[in-house]
Symmetry: C2
Subunit: 441 residues, 2 copies
């Protein structure tokens, strides 16, 4: 019996949620506890905890600790079914999802997919920069970063070293600031011991920020503190650095500066899949399709700057479930803000960012904090929201070890498992890909 066939058509309709981020999970749970049977679809079998992804890229945590199996999360939710499959296309007219597995019909659809990098129209950015929004991307960055040092040692042409050992990070928001600090700590600590003969004058971590200060969403004083602390650590901060073009080995700024770098990370912006972000009604419905809701997980856009984990994503998840239930009762969906106010108190109690060991910034209401306290607070809140009790303890253990000994032991250049897996004959058959009969409604 197939999951799509055994799943009861609940309240006369099929409810499908795409994306098991915070928003998608909250929406699924909210609908499920109202007695609605939901099919949740994600291309991975795990939920990723976005606020700590940068620590995977900086060899601080194994990726498994910040990812949690979705089926484990949903174990006690009898009304939520899960399918691991990648949505390729959405046919809004026929109300059908085309995936790399079965074709999935829906009556109500919630789009809660991950956000992805937004390249703001910069030529070459999409092709030549490395993003940092998913766990796979964090592993790629870790491999790439560490490999640059291995290659620097194997190189015999010293003229290439400056480019090889320049790590340019486009974007001076929380994601860029946190990665720059974590990488520089990795370089100054374990890597300096690993490569005693390397010419450390050549190693540069550079933040390219288009605004005139770091962390533009926080008060000026906090951005200036972050800049001072990063500079003290050795990170170069270029303000008002507008990127004109990116090539395979250089960033070209509008003021004519050329930064030769083999590693160019893009943290400047993220955007939603499948839709134009401006084209959503205040009720979170698509204008032409009142049965489709869009709450793409924008946690990266705002999440790393927030105390608490993506509270807006949580509110959106609750709001969308509420609106669907209103629609089922024949009532009108409410605009998001009203809806959120009715369902959850505003949990956006503050914004914070980690800069480096013992140094963070936070804005709590009207209070602006810098230094040890906001650093601890920011780590603590992320730790609190990390899924899985067992992972929380393991992460705490790794953090304490890092703090006491300054080591980052997970600096492995792990080979790709899939490169070998692709040699296994694929047994997906045609029958698997065919559409299932339309039912329900």
């Amino acid at each position: 019996m197939h999951i799509l066939e055994t799943m009861t058509v609940s309240q006369g309709s099929r409810f499908v949620i795409v994306g098991a981020g915070v928003g998608g999970l909250v929406a699924a749970r909210s609908l499920a506890s109202a007695g609605v049977e939901v099919l949740l679809v994600d291309r991975h079998n795990y939920h990723s905890f976005v606020p700590l992804i940068y620590q995977v890229a900086a060899a601080q945590l194994p990726p498994e600790l910040i990812a949690y199996p979705i089926r484990r999360i949903l174990r006690r939710q009898n009304n939520v079914h899960f399918l691991m499959t990648e949505v390729k296309q959405i046919d809004f007219t026929d109300r059908v999802l085309e995936t790399d597995g079965p074709t999935i019909p829906y009556d109500f659809l919630v789009l809660a997919t991950e956000s992805q990098s937004q390249f703001l129209g910069v030529p070459g950015a999409a092709e030549n920069t490395l993003p940092l929004t998913t766990i796979a991307e964090a592993l790629t960055l870790r491999n790439h970063f560490l490999h640059c040092f291995e290659r620097a040692v194997a190189f015999r042409d010293p003229a290439q070293l400056p480019q090889l050992l320049t790590f340019a990070i486009v974007g001076g928001g929380p994601a860029g600031v946190e990665l720059a600090g974590a990488w520089m700590e990795l370089i100054k600590g374990p890597l300096a011991k690993d490569y005693p003969h390397l010419d450390w004058q050549q190693v540069r971590v550079i933040i390219l920020q288009s605004a005139n200060r770091l962390l533009p969403h926080l008060p000026r004083r906090l951005g200036e503190y972050a800049q001072k602390q990063l500079r003290k650590l050795g990170v170069k901060v270029h303000l008002q650095a507008r990127v004109r073009e990116v090539t395979a080995d250089a960033v070209y700024l509008e003021d004519g500066t050329i930064i030769n770098a083999s590693t160019i990370v893009w943290t400047a912006g993220v955007e939603a899949h499948f839709r134009d972000p401006t084209a959503v009604e205040p009720t979170l419905q698509l204008p032409e399709h009142p049965e489709v809701y869009a709450i793409e997980d924008l946690s990266l856009l705002e999440g790393q700057a927030l105390i608490g984990v993506a509270p807006t994503a949580q509110q959106l998840g609750v709001a969308v479930a509420r609106n669907i239930l209103l629609q089922l009762k024949g009532e009108d969906p409410l605009p998001f803000q009203d809806c959120a106010a009715r369902t959850l108190r505003d949990r956006d109690i503050g914004r914070a960012a980690i800069i480096k060991r013992n140094a963070g910034v936070a804005k709590l209401g009207k209070l602006n904090l810098t230094g040890f306290l906001p650093w601890l607070l920011c780590l603590g809140v992320r730790w609190f929201y990390l899924p899985g009790f067992r992972n929380r303890l393991a992460v705490l253990y790794h953090w304490i070890c890092d703090y006491l000994w300054g080591d980052r032991p997970y600096r492995h250049i792990l080979p790709s498992p899939d490169a070998i897996a692709s040699e296994i004959p694929d047994i997906v058959t045609e029958s698997e890909k065919s559409s299932i009969p339309e039912g329900g409604k």
Copy 2:
């Protein structure tokens, strides 16, 4: 300055060791502490702890915990230099290693590469089976195993389920026994909860053993105990199952039995790289090339069955260093057994294997043990030899959690990082690949 140029030519010769397994590391350290400068080469930047690889394949441990950065291991060994590069070919006449990075000349060479699967001439085995000798292979197996369950849920053709959910393991030695037990525990514990609607009658883990009992290197009673315990757990054990051929979706036995399986693991044998294992002198030298020693890491061949980690590999590492030092002094190298007896007491104090929770087997001298005690002993000894104090504590924590709650939280189908990394333009240049000038001697 390039590492190959800065490296002093020690005692008039260049010493190169290929492979940072137990044997290679011990040889490097032994030579280094005798004042010889050594270049150690490995295709990875980490040392793998082979005896716990099966626990990565069974979602019990994150791979990072059983791999340790080689540069971290060598931090206090001033005389050992490391290069991460893959040896492609060895020119024994010109005494040069061709790698995917620089070309490396040598005067003395130690081959201590990883063992790899040996397919014993079975047609189709190399193409259609999954090995389990490296961390990448363990991750591939974990992905593949878990993906079979996700696909079983997405399938609509019930005729395909038996093949999809059959996991055939060729080989009834310690590697096969340990993987079968760990997989069955994963299936009966967390996966049964993850997939409540799956038809569990279809799920089969099968060991195909050519001998007439499991663990043929141990006394008969221990093999019979392992078989009884595995059968109790639900593992099917086919004895005297000689594999005639392997195809993409089936194992054909010589007695005519056909086992349809989407997952076929090969643990039946391992062999050394680069050489015919019979073609080595008792002194561990290659017959025609007295400057080349071969001590390929055979820890998989024997390691999982041993208490203690690859003691023979350790002895080989010490022996080879000793013989090279004898050669430098103009003396004759000693045969391995004499050499080992002079340098290390025999540490092969016993053999053991883990079967499942609370059940192991061990042979300690004349003592044959089964049950809880050898299980604990076997885990304890492997734990003791695991590199890295911090990893030891983390592994202990995970084992205790597993034991108390029976959960295996690392059941992620992690995407390949390299698939994205390959999009980064490669900046390896011709100059990097050119040969370095011959020096020394």
